[in-house]
């Protein structure tokens, strides 16, 4: 693979499956991994705050026995003083073995990778790519559904702006999904270029649209919920109307398959009722947990240690 992880496509299917395998093995056998990165330094460069993602990477590196340096938002960094990203990266190359970066500008991690000798992991660039979220989703699916293949997946909520959904769809398509069911308000439909992309490249995958999740929930294996943001609507009234029709609650879950799973990248706002949190099919909290394990696997891959050591 390329030395960096900038977008999900930087990884082949085989590489993704191996990461998932290592991510699972770490959970079974954490002792085997807890010193693999001792003496290594991860630079965590968050040019825009994202507490969840930062903690997830920090926890991953610490669980591998490594160290972290960095900053949590650009106000404390030299970027504030107008330094080019290229210069920041060149300097951080001396201080660290691997760099995780989040940046508000789209394409920033790619620019950084052009000036870096150490591996760069994109932890989100604006609304562009967020490959470790996709990997987290895949590990979660694999854990609960045993395989990534042949599922019927309902994607619910903001399918227009939610780029993590776009990247998840494209990646799942590579693993022979059976059917995608798109459930969203008219204002937030999946862009047609993604539907066209699926039709051209994966004509065997069925694509359906539904206005309400309850109309299709019986046939779904994976319910992937996303956050509907108020800012996407012109008026508050539309938003309030919609937010209730997209709420997943006990009533709707009654009709879902016994072995279905409910996922959400978190934080949730109003999409999932607290009353179903204890339903064993709701895996969204463990999904965050899986995020740490897949990031651990990724760090060992990029630092070529443990299962990835070259002998």
């Amino acid at each position: 693979m390329s030395k960096h992880l900038i977008e999900p496509n930087d990884l082949s299917n085989e590489e993704i499956l191996k990461l998932i395998e290592v991510g699972k093995e770490i959970q079974v056998n954490p002792k085997k991994y807890n010193q693999l990165c001792s003496g290594k330094i991860l630079a965590s460069l968050f040019f825009e705050p994202s507490t969840r993602t930062k903690f997830s990477f920090d926890a991953a590196m610490i669980r591998l026995g490594g160290h972290i340096i960095g900053f949590a938002d650009a106000n404390t960094s030299s970027a504030k003083k107008g330094e080019s990203l290229a210069d920041t990266i060149r300097v951080m190359n001396f201080y660290s073995d691997i760099i995780v970066m989040r940046h508000p500008k789209e394409g920033a991690p790619k620019l950084a990778s052009e000036y870096s000798n150490v591996p760069i992991i994109n932890a989100g660039d604006g609304g562009h790519n967020h490959p470790t979220q996709t990997l987290t989703d895949l590990l979660t699916i694999s854990k609960y559904k045993k395989t990534l293949e042949n599922h019927t997946i309902a994607l619910v909520g903001d399918l227009k702006y939610g780029r993590t959904v776009h990247s998840l769809i494209k990646t799942l398509a590579k693993f022979n999904s059976k059917k995608f069911i798109l459930v969203s308000p008219d204002e937030l439909k999946l862009p047609s270029f993604i539907i066209d992309y699926l039709k051209v490249n994966y004509p065997e995958i069925e694509i359906a649209e539904a206005r309400y999740l309850e109309d299709v929930i019986e046939e779904v294996d994976i319910i992937y919920m996303t956050r509907i943001q108020k800012e996407r609507f012109f008026n508050e009234g539309d938003y309030i109307k919609l937010k209730n029709s997209f709420l997943l609650n006990k009533e709707k879950m009654k009709k879902a398959k016994k072995d279905a799973i409910v996922m959400h990248p978190l934080p949730r706002v109003n999409e999932i009722s607290y009353e179903i949190d204890d339903d064993p099919r709701c895996v969204y909290f463990d999904q965050s947990n899986q995020g740490v394990f897949i990031r651990m696997a990724l760090i060992t891959k990029m630092l070529e240690v443990g299962d990835y050591a070259s002998c």
Binding site: L85, E106, G107
Partner: protein, 144 residues
């Protein structure tokens, strides 16, 4: 032909679709050069109904990619000692850098001087559409 050959050394940009001569003039930033420039507009033409011609006298470094973005009818004549030494048909470039800017306001190329995007041609029937190598958004080419 008299018009085409009437400079000794330089470049004649011929067969510009009528009305686009001024765009070529602006995009080549000819108001900032010290060469002698002649812009002829609305000349009767065999191939096109009417055409514009732009002549640049003397040494001038021409980037034919700029012309390809504006008008693929253009033929460039390179003149030395009153003779046409080379004719070049321009075409729509597959890749461009420098000469266009990314349309996406959130793109890193607008805020970091090191980011020099390469744009790849994605679509060329009707409007030209180029994809930015950093943010991957589409930039449409339009000239005023």
């Amino acid at each position: 032909m008299r018009l085409v050959n009437s400079i000794e050394n330089g470049i004649v940009i011929d067969h510009i679709t009528a009305g686009k001569g001024m765009i070529v003039f602006n995009e080549l930033k000819l108001k900032d050069v010290c060469n002698t420039i002649v812009l002829l507009m609305g000349i009767p033409s065999k191939h096109l109904n009417k055409k514009d011609i732009l002549k640049i006298e003397g040494d001038f470094k021409l980037d034919p990619k700029v012309l390809g973005l504006i008008d693929t009818n253009i033929i460039v004549n390179y003149i030395e000692d009153n003779k046409v030494i080379k004719k070049e048909h321009v075409s729509v470039p597959d890749k461009v850098s420098d000469i266009i800017k990314c349309d996406n306001p959130r793109c890193i190329s607008h805020t970091d001087d090191y980011a020099k995007p390469i744009f790849t041609l994605m679509k060329q029937n009707g409007e030209l559409e180029y994809q930015c190598s950093y943010c991957e958004e589409i930039t449409k080419i339009k000239f005023k």
